[in-house]
Subunit: 343 residues, 2 copies
Amino acid sequence: MLEEIREQPAALERTLHSGLRRADAFRRIIARRRPRLIVLVARGTSDNAALFGRYLLEITTGIPVSLAAPSISTLYQARLDYRDALVVAISQSGESTDTNHILEKARTQGALTLGITNEPSSSLAALAEHVFLVRAGKEKSIAATKTYTGQILLLYLLAYSLSGAVRAKELERLPGLVDSALRLEPEIRELSERYRFMHHAVVVGRGMNYANAFEFALKLMETCYVVAERFSSADFLHGPIALVEPSFPVFAFAPPGVTWGSIGTTLEKLQSLRAEVVAITDRGNRDAVRRATRVIELPRRTKELLTPIPYIVPAQLFTACLAEQKGLNPDRPRTLSKVTLTL
Amino acid sequence: MLEEIREQPAALERTLHSGLRRADAFRRIIARRRPRLIVLVARGTSDNAALFGRYLLEITTGIPVSLAAPSISTLYQARLDYRDALVVAISQSGESTDTNHILEKARTQGALTLGITNEPSSSLAALAEHVFLVRAGKEKSIAATKTYTGQILLLYLLAYSLSGAVRAKELERLPGLVDSALRLEPEIRELSERYRFMHHAVVVGRGMNYANAFEFALKLMETCYVVAERFSSADFLHGPIALVEPSFPVFAFAPPGVTWGSIGTTLEKLQSLRAEVVAITDRGNRDAVRRATRVIELPRRTKELLTPIPYIVPAQLFTACLAEQKGLNPDRPRTLSKVTLTL
């Protein structure tokens, strides 16, 4: 897992290089087809990437996005009207049965279909009309890391095809930002020791980093067996915050920018409850330091729209180091296998 | 909280009675406006009702549904294209700031708007073009119960306006089904003692009962301070099941019908891991008894489409009784207030 986390700058570089050409071509198709709705279909970590895509695409394009609930087609046999839709299926292996089922049905209805996968010869790549490839190389660890950031990068490229709000020049900075985030590894290894006996936690994020809260929590569950909840800071304050007692561990994605108001209020509240807060932030947000028990500070400042990829890196490192501290093997979590077939 | 749980048959009866006329009138409006997309906007427990609505409406109408992410409008100021949409805002108090903000914006864009609320004189009722009222009477407990089932009932009535798949005759059975579910109270009180020292749990559901898993988990968090995760059985098997060790408590909505294949497989897996499983089911599903540690069996059998309301009742009772066992006051969870204003 640690090795694959470290491979991310190179993987992102390769994915961006080949993806940009694809995205330019896809832009011409979009100009003809003009989707009125975007549907994202995925499971597991890929579904967390889809959740990111939901925010990015609505914010940058104004086209409404729906995250598909696969059982509606697979179990209830409902036939959804996806005629004017762009349906995007995301799967590392490209062999997720229900994801592929929905994509196939949408294509027969005349929807524009796009597959995002790590595997060029997968069923997904064959079923989708268009394909964006994550060029991360084989992912060996069951805990997905480099394919998650690769999928996110391709969602930026999809937004780039659809709107002028995402620029190629900006995306080119991402591999370097990840590289600098990776330099936090020794510091995070040391920090992780403190959480050796953590059995539960809450992860909060908002907006562009909401999906990262899901992804960090999923990694903590899968590889460290921590019962990790994930909430937007808004939903957390609406009810689940009742859980929090002194020393309750909360991890927060706290970049500077439009979400800081909401995250900052949450941290203030948590401070008054004497919770243990770990904030992931960067140098642009000195306020976060005052409101957290521990801070992981990314060395380079980033525009909020681009935070999700560099900000997940310390969370990935933390999870891998914590699994080590707990004497677990993050590459082979108990009970799991890499491809899950869904009933 | 217990009192309000017990008021549900009467509240549902009243809500159905006045709602049916509204729904008939709304059907004529729908016939003229023909929405191509349905957007549901809500927070907290109302958001769990919206999650139910997502499944119900896609299954019965084939119209794609998107669950709004409020921050996209409120923090990022994105302008979503909701012109052909039906935008439904759901709020017990009708004073949820971000829910109202999105409804208002959608209406100025020309979207068809519907408000579902308990408060006829609320801001939401004034902002929405059309209103369906939950006639549950004042909800005093901070933990919402009768307004949740009331909101769900009104979502059935919305589906009834949109499609022939939901029939008034069937909905008329719901108050009686809830009444018979309430008879489980003594049995559930006894069962709850076993969970006196439960500190974490997972709740699983699928399809029509997926939202109930969210709602049960939220109640366990808010009123019993149990760190309660919620997953679809499909997503659970994809990763978080790694959490499970012997005696790990899992609650499962396990009605007979199309979701039983998926839930049943999950229970089988959990049995092999020696987890502690509590299954909520009815007499139509004898299989559930074999695969669970404890079973809560609803006295009357129900068509799967109608399970969500009667099936949440034992979960509500369980939460109220468990709070009692733990010596907590479920009406006044620490930290919370009834109306949450979102930044």
